[in-house]
Each structure stands twice: as structure tokens, then as C-alpha cells.
């Protein structure tokens, strides 16, 4: 009995040692901290000369012209409710000119009609980054975004297709 108790105590001691040895020690803090830095959301007081990056300019390059002509074709398909055709044409417009914000906008609109809301939202964000300097386009983007995110109920029948700005 004594022998069993001794063996048990040895086993328990070993078990405890092994268990603690396997536990990772508290991670050491790196010696130097990055400076300056802020807590998330904490603003730093502005003092320097501040400017803003130039918004993408709508330059009418031949590439843009080609892409725009595809956008026009896509709009025709869209107004005929040929969503598959329209999506394909707007994708081609994006391929021809990846900086054509209107192509992304209409591709987003088509995806919205097709029920692909997540993709529509992503494309709308892309359109926004390219059309940011155009107030009218931004209003249209905001309007479509509220439909895509469900803030506004879906409009039936289809909303009119936007004119070019």
C-alpha cells in the first residue's frame, strides 16, 4: 500500500512537472516599441501642410472611348433586361479600360438586378474610387448603394438607366 502511494506521488509529481513544462510562457514584449503610434481611432492633431491626392481625371483616351462605347452597348442590353448580355459587355468594358468608373457602376447595377448584391457592393466601391471627383456620379452611387445594402427597398420596375455625366 505504501509502495503504491509512493508510486502514485511520483507519477503525480512527474505529471504536474510535464504539464507546466508544456505550457507556453508569457510572451516577452519586444524590446523597442514603434513610435509614433496611436490607439485605434485616436486622431493626432494636425499641424503640417496638408494636401489631398488628385482625384482620377476622366481623360478621354481612345481606350476610354472604346470602353465607353461598350458601356453604351451594355446599357442597351440592360434596358432590354438582358442581364447576362449586359454583364458580359460591362465586363469587357472593364477589360478594355480598368479605370472606367462608369463601367464598374453599370456592372454593379447589373449584378444588383441579378441578385448578386455582394459583388454589386464590391463593384460599386470600385466605381466610387474612380468617380469620386464627380458629384453627380457619387449621388448615383450612393443611391444604388442604399439599394444594394438594403437600406432602401428594391425599386420595381427597374430604375431608369442613368445618363452619362
Amino acid at each position: 500500500m505504501k509502495r503504491t502511494a509512493r508510486l502514485l506521488s511520483i507519477f503525480l509529481t512527474l505529471f504536474t512537472c510535464l504539464t507546466f513544462a508544456a505550457c507556453p510562457p508569457a510572451a516577452k514584449k519586444p524590446p523597442a516599441k514603434a513610435q509614433p503610434k496611436t490607439k485605434p481611432g485616436e486622431a493626432i492633431k494636425k499641424t503640417g501642410e496638408v494636401s489631398r491626392p488628385a482625384a482620377p481625371a476622366a481623360v478621354m483616351t481612345p481606350q476610354r472611348k472604346a470602353s465607353d462605347s461598350l458601356v453604351e452597348k451594355g446599357k442597351t442590353a440592360l434596358s432590354s433586361k438582358n442581364y447576362d448580355d449586359a454583364a458580359q459587355i460591362f465586363q469587357n468594358a472593364v477589360n478594355v479600360d480598368g479605370s472606367n468608373g462608369t463601367a464598374y457602376y453599370y456592372l454593379a447595377l447589373t449584378n444588383h438586378y441579378m441578385g448578386q448584391e455582394r459583388t454589386a457592393a464590391g463593384l460599386l466601391d470600385k466605381a466610387e474610387s474612380l468617380l469620386r471627383s464627380d458629384k453627380q456620379w457619387m449621388e448615383k452611387i450612393d443611391e444604388l448603394r442604399s439599394l444594394v445594402t438594403g437600406e432602401k427597398p428594391p425599386v420595381a420596375p427597374l430604375p431608369p438607366i442613368a445618363d452619362e455625366y
Binding site: P25, G48, P56, Q63, N92, T119, L123, K126
Partner: protein, 781 residues
Amino acid sequence: MPIRSKYRREKKEKKQGRTFREKAHLFWRALKFLVVVALVAAAALWYYMGRLDRMIEEKFDQPRKWDLPSRVYSDATYLYPGIDTAKMRFVEKLDRLAYRNTGETISGPGDYAAGPAHIDIYLHDFSYPTEEFKGFPVRLSMEAGVIDDITNMDSKEQLSVVKLEPEEISSIFDERMEDRTVVTLKEVPPILLESIILIEDERFFKHKGVDPIGIMRAFGANIRSMKIAQGGSTLTQQLVKNYFLYPKKSILRKLNEMLIAIEIERHHTKGEILEAYLNEIYLGQRGASSVSGVAEAAKYYFAKNVNQLSIGESALLAGMIRLPSEYNPLKHKDNAEARRNFVLKRLFDAGLITEEQYAGAKAEPIIPTKPVVRVGRAPYFIDFVKQQLKDLYPREVLQSEGLRIFTTLDMTMQLTAEEVVVSELSRLEKANAAVLPKEHAEPLQGVLIALQPGNGYLRALVGGRNYAESQFNRATQAMRQPGSAFKPFVYLTALDPKDSKTLFTAASTVEDSTFSVESGGKQWSPKNYDKKEHGTVTVRAALEQSLNIATSKVAMEAGLDNVAATAKKAGITTAIDPVPSLALGSFEVVPLELAGAYTVFPNNGILAEPISIMNVVTDKGEVLEKKSLKVRRVVDAQPAYLTANIMKGVVDRGTAAAARSMGFEGIAAGKTGTTSNYKDAWFVGFTPNFLALTWVGYDDNAVMNMSGARAALPMWVNFMKRAAPPSQQDFPSPPDIVLVKTDRTTGKLSNKNCPDYIEEAFIEGTEPSEYCDKTPNAESY
């Protein structure tokens, strides 16, 4: 009968061996035997004909008579003013699309003619998944090889864009390897039908499958010429031979051919037989696959739909049936011309064409397409597509249903990518022989992936240097450590006010000095590639110069869990443990996933998942599968923009600055990647509208002693210079981004005493407030 005479007769018959009675008996026995044999033969024939009938029914009486290969297409190519035709290897493209150089003028679909400052093309008709395109003639006016105007030559209308049809890049065959386009009798021009009937089986409408008169005539002609000059097989027999039987000649096959021909004629109209014949007939060889049927032959030899064939071309196709290889216009133009003229003469003599038509067709030059064998085009990409198709359709369906698979591939870009991978790997092996392992069993391998970040279109994919030697697709199947190519995701997290435990800016400073941390029960201490410590550095410098120590610290301060979560959000699916070495890309990724993840940078936080298949369409034009884009925001726009903005510095002055000395121009950003022990070399770079990833390494993870900048960057530069025009437009900035002049070394506001500044981008409100402290009296700059 007197006894004497009876005796004499019996004696005579005995002398002859048998008696009359015996003879009669024998005769009746023979007759009975013959009747039995005839009855058995008739029964056997009846049974055999029944079997043939069932075979015909099973094979021939089906709506789909042939297994049609599925075809994989590239994306269409858009042409518009500003495109450099030399750079896009335009004439090669036209050859691959089987356009024919007709000299000075174009007259029909598939023709092109190049002038000193223009190129005229008569576009092919093409059936797109969502559109039936009708070809028309266009003129591309050019200035020094660059398109400056496009005109519809019919309507004289100026066009801003025109598209060239997709290229057929691969076919998925069954074991028969027959390339065939099925047509109906109505689609075949009468002159082709008349030519074939006249030359192959003049009495087609008069016989019942087998033509004894034809056989006798052929026999007589062969005797006269002392050689086999004519065959007596009818069109029906030829159809039977090709469709039901085997090509090896034997008496048994000939008998079967006749029996089946008779049986088919009993149950089918001449029109049905003729239509089957036109689709079945063998008309040559394209590499390993056969050209079967007149429609496929019209496409292959003349780049035309069968209904667009001229009289001369129809006559030649009809004439080729006898010996397709000998009269092949791509290889034996003179033989082909002589044979065509022979058929034309027969047509004229038979009154099927007028004298004027005869003269015109005879004078017609034979302009075949350039023989393009579709072997091994974009093999790794095709394997990747097939892999995805396997999940959608069984192999038998792909081999027999004639599906048309439309992909996102840009064939010209793909060919450039393949050439660049091969040439760059060879160059690397020669130029770096001293550092590469000696007598390594396997060659150096490479990957090149090109994407359109806006929509995720996969434009080119090379998964190795030689598909014939190794089909392992390193672009989509290999698991490799990204090394420093992962660092942008560390900074993406650290610059994100929502995701980082401690917010960093590009101007934040970090100590690039050795430290040690316990990880997995061991001490882990990162080292820089140059084995040096760089003291206090800005975040920008840490990423531009790919400093391991500083980056590890940033990752730990931002939160290792947060960094791993960012990578996951960006589409990296492999398990990433939140350990300190994660910052240096110590886990494994699939190259295609890494390329996809990088789309968040040019897209300001929007992930565009790589897409390679757009549509799957049946041979009747029904769309079976339409792949949707997968484009979604995964991180905020501002941190993604800021990270991309720092990565521009990697190309302009950082670890990839050699790109500029190699002649790479335009706005671009990217990151080199080198794993520990130099086993993997990466470069992932992008312009606002284009992204490419290159990787170099050994399959067995051998050390190659070359960094990403040395091994992978030249491949990227070489490809980009040939495939993508230099971008003049900068990355679009999201709202709430401000630019502030900061000192390059301290990251503080620049002033006149700290003139070495950079116009740094910040999320509004996070820009630094302190002036550069290199001077005692800080002033506004």
C-alpha cells in the same frame, strides 16, 4: 428390255462406277443437302442481318450520331485606336485565328490584306454565348504600327472598338480524336453536294447501297489502266466503312460493308445518308486529331463556314476525299490545284457549272490558312480549366457533347508569358551558374500568373517551364512559402485603424534592432537579409527595404491574430498560425491564391477572386454555366491604399528598384519575396489595372541562393514590358486621405532644415504632429 442389253448397260454402269439408281439417289441427297445448307445460310443471314440492323439502330438511328469534342476558347480580343499591333503580335494572332492573307484585297470572311498603313480584315462570323456575331470587313488604319482609326468598310462608319473572336485553344476528345463540326444538309452549298456526288458516286440516287454497274465500271477501268484507278464503293459504303467498320481491308469487311449499306438504304432516305456522309467523311489530319466532315474541313483549310465556300473551294474539298493527304492544300498546293481543276472540268462537262463559272473557279488562287496545330497551347491553364470542369461535368459528357467553354485567357499574353518563363529561367541558369546547386537533378522552375484586378480575370497562367516534362501545375497546385511577399498583409493590418491593435502610419517609426521572442517553446529572433540592424526606421522604409526585424515587430504590435485574419480575408485559405514568423511568410500558399490576395491593393481593399471560366455553352448555344464575378470588399479602402502607396516605393527605390534600371516605366507597385535559405523567389507587382506574379524555385525545395529581386523580378519586368502598356494614371485614392510632407528618416513633419522629404499619405487625422527634430528650432516648411 432384253437381258443382254440390260446386262450390257449394267456392265457399262458398273464399269463407270455407279448405277443409275445410285446416281439418282446421290442427286437427291445432294439436293437435299444444298437445300438444308441454303436454309441454314438463309437463317444465318437473316439472323446476321438482324444483328446488323440492331447495330445500325443503336449507332446510326440516334439524334446524336457522333461524339463531339468539347472546345475551350480564349477571351475575345478588343481592338481600338492606340493599340500597338507589333506589341500584340497582330499578324500571328490572325494566323492563329485562321485568317488568310489574300494579298491586296479581301472578299469574304476570313480574309485579310495588309497595306503600307492599314490592314483590312473580313471578320469571321462567331457564335458567342450571348450573341451571334456576323462578320464584316473592317479597315484598321495605322501609324507606325499603332491603330489610329477603325472603319467598317461596308457602312463606312468609324468604330471606336471592334472585337476579334476568341481563339480555340484546346479540345477535349474521346479516344477517337475526331475533330468535327456537325452541319445539316441545308447548310451545305449545292455545288459542294454536286461535286461530291459527281466525283465519288455518280449513281448515288440510282442504287440501293451497292452499285453493281459502278463495280463493273471500276473493274473495267482498273483492267484498262492496269492499276487500281477507281473504286466501286458507293457513298453509302464509304459511310459504312468510316462510321461502322475499321479501315483495314479484308473480304469480310467488304462483305459487311455491302450488307450494312443495303440495310441502311432500306431504312433511311438518301438525304439522311448524304448528310451523315458529309459529317463523317475523313478529310485530313491536324496534329493528333482528324479533320472529319466537310464543315470542319472548310474551317481548317479555308477558315470559312461551309456555306461560305466558293465553287473552287467546294471542288477541291470534294476532290480531296479520295486522298486527303495528297491533295492537302496546306502541304501540296500543286496537287490540290490539279485535283480541283479535274473536279471543275467534270462539273463543267456534266453541265453543273457554266463556262464562266468554270473559268472563274479555275483561275481562283488557292489560299489556304496557315497550318496551325493546336498542340500544347496554354497547357497549364487548360489543365486548371479541366480540373474545374471535372467538378461540373463527367468526363464522358466533356468528350461527347460538344460543349463550348469560354475562358478569360488572353492568348497573346499567354504566349508571351510562356516565352518569358522559358527564356528567363534559361538566362538565370546561365548567369547564376556559380550560385545555383551543382548538377541538380531537376531544372529550375517558374510560375507566371497575370490577372485583371478589377474583375479577377485570369489573363495568363504558366505553371512550369516545360509541360511535356512536368505536368505539375505550380501555379495552382504548389504550396510554397511566400517569404517577404507576405509582408504587405502585415502592413495592411497595421495601417488599419479597425484591425490593428496599435495603429501605425507610413511615417511611424520602428526599431530595426535584434530582439528575441519565445515561439513554440523556442527562442525566435528574426534577422535581416543583409544581416545588419538599421536602427530607427519608418514603416515605409521597413516595407520598401523589406526589413525582417522591423516587420516582425510591426506584426506583433498589430496583433498576429489580426494579421492572420487579414490574410484570410484576402482569400488565403491555407492555415496560418499566429506565430511571430508569420510576418516573414513562414507558412505555405498556393501562388494563384497569393496573386488573388494581392488584388486588394490596386482595388483599394476589394478582393477580386481569380476567375478563369466565364461560360459553358452546349453545341446548340444553350448556356449551361455562367460564372459570376466574385468581387467584394474585404478591408477598408484607406489602409489598402496606404499599403499600395508604400509598395510603389518598393519599385521606385526599394528592393525592386532594379525594375526601373531594367527599363520598366509607369506607375507600379509590388513586393519582392525571398524565403529563408533562398528556396523561393517571388515578385508580385501591379499597376492600377494589371497584376502579375512571378515565382522561381526548385520543386524539391533545394536552395538556389537567389533572391526575389534577382530571380523573379527580371521575369516580371520582361513580361510586363511586353504585355502591359506603362500606366500613366496613378492608383485612385479613397476619401479621407491627405498628403503631408514628412522627413524620410524620422517620419516627422518636414521643414527647411529637413529638406529630404516624401509626400506621405495618411488617413486624415493620423498625420504626424511633430516637426522633424534634426534642427533645434522647428519651423513650418
